[in-house]
Amino acid sequence: MKTRTTLLAVGEVLAWWAALVVLWLMLISTVYTLEWVVGACAAGVGALAARAGRRAAVRPR
């Protein structure tokens, strides 16, 4: 059960991260390596914040 919870958490953060990276790539003007790196890092922070926000708003029953 514990493994399942961890997997679900990792999956959720990864899903947020992927969505945020795509959003970043859509909003910038030119795509190059540094933008990828900065975008991936920012999306990582954003994904953790998004999960925390989702958990604060929607309490798991």
Partner: protein
């Protein structure tokens, strides 16, 4: 001056002028409605200006405004909850008109831009603009009674 700048001037002059007048005069409910409409009208104006001047950085301004405008209205809806509970300001005709203007501007700009990342960005701005304003209008008119008011 080209057609885009002319259209932006009309949108800004008529839209922003009217909403500023609405914000500055009249009862509280009307002021809040006008404040909400002002961002919904300035955002398409900025999009038109970005096309007219060929400066893509104006799209970023429109994106910020589309994001922060409804958030500002939600703050007002929260802070003025007691006063607004009596009035429950509704202006669905104007709200849908502003949303329609935003949708038309975004659609025309998408058609001009053509497929690509900048078109996706425009669509994101449009979705935030229309969705955010409909949400903010609903919150203002007491459309979310389940949310605790403080």
């Amino acid at each position: 001056m080209n057609g885009w700048i002319l259209a932006a001037t009309v949108v800004l002059a008529v839209g922003l002028g009217t909403t500023l007048w609405g914000v500055a005069t009249g009862p509280l409910g009307r002021r809040v409605v006008a404040q909400n409409l002002s961002t919904a009208l300035v955002c398409p104006g900025l999009l038109l200006l970005s096309q007219g001047y060929d400066r893509t950085s104006y799209v970023d301004l429109a994106l910020l405004l589309a994001l922060l405008g409804p958030v500002g209205t939600l703050v007002f809806a929260r802070l003025l909850a007691d006063e607004l509970a009596e009035e429950q300001p509704r202006a669905w005709g104007l709200t849908w008109a502003a949303a329609g203007l935003g949708a038309v501007v975004v659609a025309v700009l998408c058609a001009v831009t053509g497929p690509g990342r900048s078109m996706v960005k425009l669509l994101i701005v449009g979705a935030l603009l229309v969705g955010g304003n409909l949400l903010a209008s609903r919150a203002m008119s007491g459309g979310f009674p389940g949310v605790s008011r403080g």
